[in-house]
Symmetry: D2
Subunit: 303 residues, 4 copies
């Protein structure tokens, strides 16, 4: 298997719905094109931010097909594997692979708080079925399973596993992973408001959230860091920070869909039990976006 | 709607699988009959302990049909509603109601950490579609949503909601609920190793785990508490406690399936990513069961 | 050493100050007599509720001398040992022993989160110097050190350690301790709003907070439980619960001093950095006390 | 008051004891000189790492006098104010100020988990008495009080408060503080294994731990970051990381005293209840130091 050496900005795209909760493929086509033309380096469909837990098996494939169509091989399209049963995950990766995805993001275990032995075995089994590059999504905060640097040493012989989405909310992990496994895996920071720090300690990219509304600013942050222009990057990051905090919340989907709506690149339709923000939460996000737009930097020079 | 005033011991039954992960209906028939003939007062299918997260929509209905067949109206059969999308939960309760279940256990939200507004709205919507009595499963430890006594005051006008499975791991909640809503809801203690305490402060029943292997002892505990024979109940509970701790664990399914196997009333087959216990964990459970069997009390007088 | 087999209600008395933060011995004499004449079974001075962290070494001895004077051997007086350095704890127990205290409450470690080896060694060293009965105060929530039932098996050879104040906030521990060490130690529930549950599972007494304002009700609860009159005890406990919650708070000192003031048996003076309650917190406590007084049960028959 | 604009590396020096737990001033003189001659920019005495909780009021002044003697105004000496009663803190700052310290580190509240109102009032009161520059030590992990960026906006009118030791273990706070209060306060990263990240997002200095054994490497890290030589800084940080993790532990004192001993610049004597490391913990630290020494970089070019 060829290691694609993923790097750069991979948006975890939102899934677009109509008011009746049906998939809105036209809106997704438009949004995926907006992301791609803004310079992002990959797309991830059906992640947490994509409301994976409300999508059926078939819908996840449909959303991903739409992304593949729009991408047209201009950049890799990955789909998140969020099946709660291993057998279903195997079926899923087989069908998605046939459709032509370039890779997968895989959670060590969904809903069940697997221990490391079970989680690693689950990953290996899925990887073998996938026969495509895989980014492991390590998020103990949301999913209760934590694969440590030692676990990733164990997994190093599994050639399909080529990347890690680091979402422990513990910035030290990037350095601990580099010390433990060198450059065996591409490392993506999965927590928006640790982006600058993650890139500063050597992450290869961002699996990002706010990029769905601000792709150019996110790409600019990455470009500045790549160019070692840290002072300009930090200034941009300071502007971005209040927005990025909105990604670290139980309401991240509603937060980001409201942000998308306010900047004119999306709608607020979510699938229940989720509901759009109301009251103080809504006002808070609106205020954050309003302030951000009023002081929005011109990043055109960094693209 | 007629309030059934559920009380007593409701096992959260395990789902029996064959080695190839297929449903084993014959084993389930046998096990459900074992529970019923041991004197339990209700059955709950497809709960956390029933590996709900690995069962398809149709399989959940099939398992429940088997329980209904065995129960043959001798006691109420409830099924857990664990769909992650509200629309699917509505479909599920409609189909299960047609099959003849006596009620539902409903989680305020699964996977998505809904806030109280969303969770209550979700419950009301499901309750309306169900048109059958509902026990709300309040488990913030596992499912991140906590409905407070104040929230249950709000929900008091929803007639289908007749009971609460109290799984906050906070024994004070029983008393706080009694102070807040009196006897509006039947209260079931949902944490095995708080059983005695829960019944002591006035819970109406147990939505229990270890009962799957020790139904007579669990029924005896309940009967002794009902008869105000606290000293004998406490002595029985002290014997039971090391077993009951096995229910409060990420590995509760594997723990209890091993206990069932060791006492001869089940098998250890689970669906992956879960795997049977190995090593020190396995030895620990084996030792606990071995000690319990060596000192097993004769409860025949309390049944 | 003679094991005193402590049992019943031991108030963790508040330390009375004047407005200028000086000790108010006259107020303490009055309050200690109020407690004793209400039927409590022991007194604990200089605990967390006694603002130990703001008292000098000498002041702790002075407060305790006042308690000894008032008690006049009618009931045991224990003093909390809260020195952060072992050498100072040794000096303290020696001087307090000379004054005539009947025993000590000892924290495994104060401020420093000692491990079990260090904590047990600390306890043994203090016990040896004390040559008086000791109640170990196990409170991992506030003090970060947790001695497990296995640790108390280890300590069983230390004859001075005769009792445990169980403040893990985990009611299961009473039963686990009984299973592990039988009746080797007297067990006191140290969390007010787990009082009924603690006594129900066999605790020998309460190291209590709200007793400072409501001693007769607390003694009545204990007497009812001793007499196995659980239904009446539970009814009393339900009335008591909102008050008892005030003991489980970072503001327990201010909460309880306000309660004392509202029922006419104390004042609100605290030592800074603590300050009396203001705003919503003050209103909340006032409302709780007001409701409690309006429905205060007559417990005279239970004393 | 003149704002000293502290910046650079401030070691939280260990307090040296003899085997009998007496202060070892000769060892401290030697160690403080070692730090100063290695290029650090300030000294902090009697912090957590200095075992403040086991030092008497007078001993804290004595240790600080020794530091002042050695420093001889070559760099600022700050002393940590760790009194648990406000009145004692006021006496302490007055006496230390007379001795000639250049400033104080002040915890919002020690042992008592003050709320923001109490904590800010405590800080203002101490600041007024001190009449010297103050660094607020914000460490909710160890001390349960968290002053937010909004609280530091409130405190901006208190001219003595000139710096913040950021120890929330949340790297985002540096950026949030910059966004909230600009450069009103000098920001020191107080968590060793967030040093690089802290400096990358604009911290002015490190209030550091491992510097006690590796001062040149710590100063080199700072110098490289100041010079925007991030790649070399990151490489040095990666080498340093396993050592720096030893500072984030309940056993930080014993860890760092063992590290000091192994590199030949200290001893392991601690005051009980602390005890030197044994067994696996000791072996782990020894192994970490051994690896670090075997790959120790030559930083002479960066000093």
């Amino acid at each position: 298997m060829n290691n694609p050496k993923w790097r750069g900005i991979f948006p975890a795209v939102t899934t677009k719905f109509k008011e009746n909760e049906d998939l809105d493929h036209a809106a997704m086509e438009k949004h995926f094109e907006f992301q791609i033309s803004s310079g992002v380096h990959g797309l991830l469909t059906c992640g947490s931010l994509g409301e994976a837990s409300t999508l059926s098996f078939e819908e996840k494939l449909e959303v991903t097909q739409t992304a593949l169509n729009v991408a047209d091989k201009r950049l890799p399209v990955l789909v998140n594997v969020s099946e709660t049963r291993t057998a279903n995950a195997l079926r899923f990766v087989e069908q998605a692979a046939k459709m032509g995805v370039q890779g997968f993001m895989v959670m060590p275990s969904v809903l069940y708080a697997a221990d490391a032995r079970e989680a690693k075995d689950n990953l290996r089994t899925i990887a073998k079925a996938a026969q495509l590059p895989i980014m492991v999504y390590n998020n103990p905060v949301a999913y209760k399973v934590d694969l440590t640097p030692a676990d990733f040493i164990d997994l190093a012989d599994c050639e399909q596993i080529v990347a890690i989405k680091e979402s422990t909310d513990n910035i030290r992990r990037i350095t601990d992973l580099r010390n433990a496994v060198g450059t065996r895996y591409q490392l993506f920071m999965g927590v928006d408001d640790l982006s600058f720090e993650g890139l500063a300690v050597g992450a290869d990219g961002l699996l990002a959230g706010l990029v769905v509304a601000f792709p150019q600013e996110t790409v600019a942050l990455y470009n500045l860091m790549q160019a070692k222009r840290y002072d300009e990057a930090l200034k941009l990051y300071q502007w971005f920070m209040p927005l990025m905090h909105l990604d670290v919340s139980n309401k991240l989907v509603q937060n980001l869909k409201l942000v998308e709506t306010l900047v004119g690149v999306g709608n607020e339709f979510v699938r229940r039990p989720r509901q759009p923000l109301v009251g103080a939460e809504r006002e808070f996000v609106t205020m954050i976006v309003s302030k951000a737009l009023a002081t929005r930097p011109d990043v055109s020079a960094y693209l």
